[in-house]
């Protein structure tokens, strides 16, 4: 059962401003504010009229687990966005609220828009899933991974998705089977595939390890 070395595992790169775009839509979660602020600084030094056409949607609480110890960083980030004279800055409590607004923003958006996503991989995945529905291609999207590596895991047996998975194996929230978390990633589901780990030898589980921190 191949776990690593699978090509569908997404690869991310540090965000860079794409001044070829006319409009810029930025999504951030938690510590994802830092890469976005870096791109904003890059746009300012490029001296193209990008900032007034830039919108930021930001969820300071990001991955819930890290919210408690990084409250001050998030507050500073929001202040940084507000100081940048952007076209718009909106903050959200939690990823679902942000993604809801993201969807309605895409409904109104025009060709020429570039998308920048920064945050934990699960956040990027959920944003990409929506972007895909709007036919945004690779050359319109940039994503930088930062924060927790916790995964969304899709159970290939019962089709439930278990959130915030940090371990090599996990008990499925839907059917309680022990699932092996593979590197096989679905962009459509925004989740890694989980397959029953003890199907051949019931009850024989590998040691539980924290691997996606």
């Amino acid at each position: 059962m191949l776990v690593t070395g699978i090509k569908s595992k997404p690869v991310y790169a540090p965000l860079q401003a794409d001044t070829g775009g006319r409009y810029h839509l930025m999504l951030g979660s938690g510590v994802g504010a830092a890469p976005l602020l870096r791109v904003i600084a890059e746009m300012r030094s490029a001296a193209v009229p990008s900032l007034q056409y830039t919108q930021v949607l930001y969820a300071p609480d990001g991955g819930a687990a890290e919210a408690a110890d990084d409250q001050s960083g998030a507050t500073a980030a929001v202040a940084g966005f507000r100081a940048a004279a952007l076209g718009g800055v909106r903050t959200f409590r939690g990823t679902p609220a942000l993604l809801g607004e993201f969807r309605s923003t895409l409904e109104r958006s025009l060709m020429g828009t570039r998308l920048y996503v920064a945050g934990p991989e699960s956040f990027i995945g959920l944003a990409m899933k929506i972007a895909l529905e709007f036919n945004l291609n690779k050359d319109e999207i940039r994503a930088e991974e930062c924060g927790t590596l916790a995964r969304r895991v899709y159970c290939i047996h019962c089709r439930a998705t278990t959130e915030q998975v940090r371990t090599n194996i996990v008990s499925c929230v839907g059917c309680a089977r022990w699932l092996l978390v593979r590197d096989h990633y679905s962009r459509r589901l925004a989740a890694y595939m989980g397959v029953m780990v003890d199907a051949e030898a019931p009850g024989e589980l590998p040691p539980l390890k924290q691997v996606f921190l």
């Binding site: 070829g20 775009g21 006319r22 409009y23 895409l106 958006s109 025009l110 060709m111 020429g112 828009t113 570039r114 709007f134 036919n135 945004l136 291609n137 690779k138 050359d139 319109e140």
Partner: protein, 320 residues
């Protein structure tokens, strides 16, 4: 592709649709259906001319649902090397021709949220078939069709009937031009633009799309170049170990084929990249006329598209 894979067809319909464009219907000699194709596909028509065989690419303009005949539109080119004049002057009902299987280098994006089609003159032909693919698909689209004047508006009745308000006509004679900037600056996310027409129009659409922030993956275009006439030159084929003379009015690809060496191709118009050939030696300049190699690749001078490009040199050695 080689001639062994061609399909024998008979011309079963000819209509002069504008002063310059003839519409041909081709039926398979063997009966039955022709191969399935999708909107935007072209075929190569092989014409047995008196002094040489012409092989020209023409877009299929009929419905992909209807396979008992293929339909093509041929514009009579002023500076024809013979192909379009052959089709216009020598081909009659009952004439037999060979065609190659359809190839699509100009397909619609399957998951686009909207399609904007822009045609100039004969560039309408691939779009007629693309429109057939769009009918009933539920994805919004619009067609912007620019022609010299009303008499040059090929297939206009058919378009009016089928497309209604989705058709936007522009007549040069009335001073009407497509406002590319306002058109491309206001399209919803997930739109794809397709352009087929004169070089100037294609270049204009590509440049305007870029300045409006469109990424390359949403901009599609097709233009088959006819191989331009040029100075004669000699080419040596390194693997075949033969020397071939390329006369002024014959393309490099045609000359190589006439010498009995086969080169793979799909379009013969500088678009598909199949005939891409390595240059091993050159004592002059390559005259690139293709749309496939980037400017940087053309400048490197170590490869050539023999279907449309030539050389200005004393000695050219190709890896063939």
């Amino acid at each position: 592709m080689s001639d062994a894979q061609t399909i024998a067809v008979e011309v079963v319909g000819i209509e002069q649709v504008t002063p310059l464009i003839k519409h041909f219907k081709l039926a398979p000699l063997a009966g039955g259906d022709l191969p399935v194709f999708s909107g935007g596909s072209h075929i190569i028509v092989v014409m047995p001319g008196a002094d040489r065989v012409h092989k020209n690419p023409y877009s299929l303009l009929g419905s992909p649902q209807q396979l008992d005949t293929y339909e093509i539109g041929v514009r009579r080119m002023e500076e024809s090397r013979g192909g379009s004049h052959y089709m216009h002057d020598r081909v009659a009902i009952g004439s037999r021709l060979e065609i190659a299987h359809p190839v699509n280098l100009f397909g619609l994006d399957k998951i686009a949220r909207k399609h904007v089609l822009i045609a100039g003159g004969i560039g309408i032909t691939p779009m007629l078939a693309q429109l057939e693919d769009l009918h009933g698909g539920g994805v919004p689209y619009e067609l912007h069709y620019s022609v010299r004047s009303a008499e040059h508006a090929a297939f206009l009745q058919r378009l009016r009937r089928r497309e209604g308000a989705r058709l936007h006509m522009y007549y040069d004679s009335e001073g009407q031009t497509i406002g590319f900037e306002s058109l491309l600056a206001t399209q919803p996310l997930g739109t794809h633009v397709y352009v087929c027409g004169p070089t100037g129009m294609i270049d204009h659409v590509i440049a305007t799309a870029r300045s409006c922030g469109w990424p390359g993956s949403h901009v599609h275009w097709e233009q088959f170049s006819a191989p331009p006439v040029g100075d004669a030159f000699e080419v040596f084929l390194a693997r075949a170990r033969i020397s071939v003379h390329v006369p002024p009015d014959r393309s490099l690809l045609e000359s190589i084929e006439a010498a009995g060496v086969e080169v793979p191709y799909l379009c013969r118009g500088g678009v598909c990249g199949f005939c891409h050939t390595r240059v091993l030696e050159l004592d002059g300049d390559l005259l690139h006329n293709d749309h496939f190699l980037s400017a940087a690749e053309q400048a490197r001078g170590n490869s050539i598209m023999p279907c449309v490009s030539r050389a200005h040199c004393k000695r050219l050695v190709l890896d063939l």
